[in-house]
Amino acid sequence: MFLINCPFCGERDQSEFSSGGEAHIVRPKQPTELSDDEWAEYLFMRKNIKGIQFERWNHVHGCRKWFNVVRDTSNDKILSVYKMGEKPPVNYK
């Protein structure tokens, strides 16, 4: 059970949050211009990394805010949290 440091509320139990999958997948501005393959790339393709992964979390039973998390999936350590719109910490690239 993770302890997640919500950037708005502070450290809370995982049960207050819901996970939103991979982060930094931007919705295409002009979906109608995309081919089936390009749209499928956005819609379906997700990484499943063993190691450092960037993910979205929602403090759904708290402030309801979405934010980003850097997590090492091999040991579940959360290395960093940052708000939506902020750039991912470069040292984890």
Binding site: M1, D13, G20, T32, W39, L43, W66, D76
Partner: protein, 1000 residues
């Protein structure tokens, strides 16, 4: 009756005699006893039959590792408990326990015949035998296995006990109250860290607390005396909480641990009442100190499972802690020094004993002490066989060869009534590995040890492989200082004297002249797997330890292999010729010892099982006989039976009334989201498939919401209350998810939009009145409101007051009838409802529930998201292309609507079905085919909604069918268990296609 209690100890209160029943017979023990110690005091070793061969089995240990002495407690249907370890169960007045897994009784057990046919039931027996014929499985094999494989009986009635959950936060959690745990807890708490110390026993002190050997001293005191002092001291520390009878069940990530505290299991029946039985502690600790100690290993030799064969150290504890001797003529069989402590203790109490030691020779303080007491020691010898059916009465030993691979010389037969075995010690690394820690292997004494200690978790004491007291204390102090970053000097000058073990010799499978195939060298006592089974598994090609475990079931019993896993690994390594360290271990999974379901569930039983949401009209529904349906957490009226009507009759009556005159529905549970902001219109444009910018203030519009994959996600009517203010309704079940999804897009994709979302589902109650007379009822309630079609047309919204209370009234319809929804602040919901009912009396206003609502909307072909859709339906599949805007540049899911897969013409599509026999009602979920003769039968789709319509006087159904759009008028078949039902594909709208009734 024999009495094996031979001396007084401070842990047994001889003034408090306790009577208890075991297998129907009454015995006596004392307060402080466990069931096991009391049984042993009465000379009872035989406590059960083994799982597979039904061999007589006795008490082996004195703790959580016990494989044999598991019993059924109590006989009441609601309070009986199986698989309780007698070694952990504290004795109380009136305790009733019985042995398990034997029939008709423990002394004469019919299953014992398995022992003689054992060559026929080798490892993997079940897999090999019960495979064919297939038809035998259900009727023959399964009942047979279930009958003979009983591990106790579960209660058959609800558990009346109270259980509790508690969340706690600590700076430091110390698991285990032995010497290292006590030291760690004291150091932490004295340094002002909020500390919790838990131990599964009744008192702290581990195995040191009854230590009384003169060669082991701390500051010139017996180690037990020194430790008692320490315990007195830590009890004074204000920062330290001590929880005894509390065992850690699971160690999860981020130092989140579950512990079970036993509160009343040791109390007599009358004192248990109305008290919490067990409490589950949910612990978050910044740092965790694991001091769980180690458990003694058995030795693997022929017939090592007879009653009267125990772990050597357990014999010592029964003697020095409980004052009970396990025999009068004891042999100790060992490969290490710890059995000598037992020997010396026994000798002091006048119990004759002999030591058989695997080692060629050994020297240490303890051995010198035993020798000087005149204890006979057979070095370099091995026990090769034991005798005695219900209890051991003698054994044979032989000399070991130089390499230890065989025996040499002649057998020596020794008589005895008890055998203590010690194969060394296994550190309890369960907690370390559960937390994600890795293990190292130490060849010297063949133990797995915690590899690295992380910054928030550390192992100390014998669970870290430190076995002698000096080592334990010194290392614990050093490690804890470093771990907690403190500088505690309390133990700087502590003077520790202890015997040091210098000689080791480990042989996993002891040699024997008898071929292995003819021996019974047990590894797992509870699951009856032997060394032979392990070797057979290897011979048959199993290599991975995880596979061997499952094939032989070694370590898979309720004791989870606490005594057997190491031996299984050792024998696999030896047989396969690999190093044990490279083999790895099986996974240690929680819980460490079994938990009751009650503990896990806590207070969430009965009416607290789940959160229940009730509308403010709920009481009225109850008073008026409603049957309820669960929709999400909501309780919704399902139908209102009158004069003992069944559901069908009630629904027919309700739906007819709604179409003929007027009906009223509690629609409060629909999700309501308040949307405000200058970009609210643009936001709705992006989330719904249809256009919203041009919706006039005071008007309502139905909207369909898709997922980005183009599939229908939710629907509902949204009302424009003012320029930048909308009220969205969602399905009852989808409310929370829709809000979450909308927030997601707002916060992450379109943060530039000025839009605010607020859930107002609970803020408003809604009464929905429909039917040709609804306008007249509305007129009575709101006499000043102009209800004319010109002023208040379909799909529009007005505000008015009901006795000075604001109401939002929408003229919208989910039934196809003229219909109004009145929204009022929830606290007035019940009053509103009653006023509607009162006003509607003269028009036979009939309350109807969800079932009638479903029927009425089905007559009109309105979909229910989640019933007629399942996450694979596009708007086009639902024949709802009309609601998808062609002009809008983008909305959620738009691009997916022309993916090659979504434009396929042979997708499943929503159609209506009419049965050839109008009285025949289809079953929802029934499969639809066109041809029942060709096999395999081609499944075309399934029925999603089905009702008998009283208004049309025939059966109607909605279904999804492959290429359904093109099949209108076509005949299809619904094959049922005993007949085929013929149907014709129809339009989805069955009633009032012209929508005349909306303005009736």
């Amino acid at each position: 009756m024999p009495n094996y209690r031979i001396h007084k100890t401070e842990y047994i209160d001889e003034t408090k005699r306790v009577s208890f029943k075991y297998d129907g017979k009454t015995y006596f023990g004392y307060e402080g006893d466990t069931l096991a110690s009391a049984l042993l005091a009465n000379g009872i070793h035989l406590v059960g039959r083994s799982f597979k061969y039904h061999r007589p089995r006795g008490i082996v240990s004195c703790g959580a590792e016990e494989p044999n002495a598991i019993c059924q407690i109590g006989s009441k249907k609601d309070l009986t408990e199986p698989n309780v370890r007698a070694t952990e169960l504290e004795l109380y007045e009136g305790l009733e326990a019985s042995s398990q897994n034997c029939w008709p009784n423990v002394k004469f057990d019919i299953g014992g015949i398995n022992n003689f046919i054992s060559p026929l039931i080798p490892a993997g027996f079940y897999y090999k035998t019960f495979m064919w014929p297939k038809s035998f499985w259900k009727k023959v094999y399964e009942p047979l296995i279930r009958l003979s494989a009983g591990l106790g009986k579960s209660p058959t009635e609800p558990d009346p006990d109270i259980y509790d959950h508690k969340y706690v936060h600590y700076d430091v959690l110390v698991i285990g109250g032995g010497v290292s745990g006590i030291i760690a807890a004291k150091m932490a708490a004295k340094n002002n860290l909020k500390t919790l110390l838990v131990d599964d026993k009744k008192i702290l002190g581990g195995s040191t607390i009854y230590q009384n050997n003169e060669s082991i001293k701390i500051d010139d005191k017996l180690s037990s005396e020194w430790l008692k002092n320490e315990i007195q001291e830590i009890k004074k520390l204000s920062k330290l909480t001590i929880k005894t009878r509390t065992s850690i069940a699971a160690y999860h990530g981020y130092n989140f641990l579950l512990a079970k505290e036993n509160l009343t299991d040791h109390l007599p029946e009358e004192k248990k009442e109305n008290k919490i039985r067990q409490r589950l502690w949910k612990i978050r600790a910044k740092k965790v100190v694991i001091a769980t100690g180690s458990i003694e290993r058995p030795l693997v030799f022929n017939n090592n499972d007879r009653p009267g064969i125990l772990l050597s150290n357990s014999i010592n504890k029964y003697l020095d802690y409980y004052g009970v001797t396990c025999g009068e003529n004891i042999i100790l069989f060992t490969n290490n020094d710890s059995a000598y402590e037992t020997s010396i203790s026994l000798h002091k109490k006048g119990i004759k004993n002999i030591i058989v030691d695997l080692r060629k020779s050994a020297s240490s303080e303890l051995i010198k002490q035993a020798e000087s007491l005149g204890v006979k020691i057979y070095f370099n010898h091995v026990v090769t066989n034991t005798f005695g059916y219900r209890k051991i009465n003698s054994l044979e030993i032989m000399k070991l060869s130089e390499d230890g691979n065989t025996t040499v010389g002649n057998k020596i037969r020794l008589s005895c009534d008890c055998l203590g075995m010690s194969g060394g010690w296994t550190p309890m690394v369960h907690m370390h590995t559960q937390s994600g820690g890795k293990l190292d292997f130490r060849d010297e004494d063949q133990v797995f040890l915690p590899k690295e200690n992380s910054e928030d978790q550390i192992s100390v004491g014998s669970c870290n492989g430190d076995f002698d007291l000096e080592n334990i204390i010194d290392k614990t102090v050093n490690k804890i200082n470093k771990f907690l970053d403190i500088d505690n000097q309390d133990y700087q000058d502590t003077n520790i004297i202890c015997s040091k073990e210098n000689d080791k010799r480990n042989i996993w499978l002891l040699p024997n002249k008898i071929p292995l195939g003819k021996t019974k060298c047990f590894i797992d006592f509870q699951n009856d797997s032997t060394a032979k089974d392990i070797k057979l598994a290897l011979k048959e090609g199993f290599r991975s330890i995880e596979h061997v475990k499952r094939y032989t079931t070694t370590g898979m019993a309720t004791d989870q292999g606490k005594l057997s896993n190491m031996h299984a690994l050792g024998i696999i390594a030896d047989t396969a010729g690999v190093k044990m360290g490279t083999l790895g271990t099986t996974t240690f999974r929680p819980p460490f010892t079994p938990l009751t379901f009650g503990t896990l569930v806590g207070r969430n039983v009965g009416k607290f099982f789940e959160v229940v949401r009730k509308t403010s009209m709920h009481e009225w529904h109850v008073e008026n006989n409603a049957e309820f349906e669960n929709v999400g957490q909501w309780k919704r009226p399902w139908y209102y039976p009158k004069n003992h009507e069944n559901m069908h009759d009630a629904v027919q009556r309700e739906s007819k009334a709604a179409r003929d005159s007027a009906g009223i529905l509690d629609a409060s549970t629909l999700g309501k989201i308040d949307i405000q902001g200058t970009d609210a219109s643009e936001f709705l444009n992006r989330v719904y498939t249809n256009a919203w910018s041009k919706l006039a203030i005071g008007k309502c519009r139905y909207g369909l919401m898709l997922n980005e994959d183009g599939m229908v996600y939710d629907d509902g009517v949204t009302t424009r209350i003012s320029e930048n203010h909308y009220l969205m309704t969602t399905t009852t079940g989808g409310a929370a998810n829709v809000l979450s999804k909308l927030e997601d897009y707002l916060q992450t994709e379109w943060p530039e939009l000025d839009v605010y979302l607020t859930s107002v589902t609970d803020h408003y109650s809604t009464a929905s009145i429909c039917g040709p007379n609804s306008k007249k009822i509305l007129n009575k309630l709101f006499p000043n409101l102009d209800l004319s079609d010109e002023n208040f047309p379909h799909m529009s919204f007005k505000e008015d007051k009901l006795e000075n209370i604001n109401c939002r009234i929408m003229r919208i319809s989910f039934t196809g009838e003229l219909s109004y929804e009145i929204n009022i602040e929830s606290k007035y919901g019940n009053s509103l409802w009653k006023m509607c009912i009162e006003a509607g009396k003269e028009f036979n206003l009939t309350p109807y529930g969800t079932e009638t609502m479903h029927l009425l909307r089905a007559e009109k072909g309105f979909i229910i998201v989640g019933q007629d859709t399942d996450g694979t339906m596009t708007p086009s599949d639902l024949q709802m292309d009309w609601i998808v805007s062609k002009k809008k540049y983008d909305f959620i899911g738009k691009r997916s609507l022309y993916r090659s897969d979504t434009v396929r013409e042979d997708r499943k599509q929503l159609v209506g079905l009419l049965t050839d026999d109008p009285k025949e009602i289809l079953e929802e979920g029934a499969q639809i085919v066109s041809d029942v003769k060709s096999k395999p039968i081609d499944m075309l789709g399934h029925v999603t909604s089905s009702y008998f319509s009283p208004n049309l006087n025939k059966s109607i159904a909605l279904a999804v069918v492959r290429s359904g759009k093109t099949m209108k008028g076509q005949k299809l078949i619904i094959p049922m268990e005993n007949k085929n039902i013929n149907v014709t594909v129809s339009d989805t709208i069955f009633l009032d296609k012209e929508n005349k009734r909306l303005n009736a």
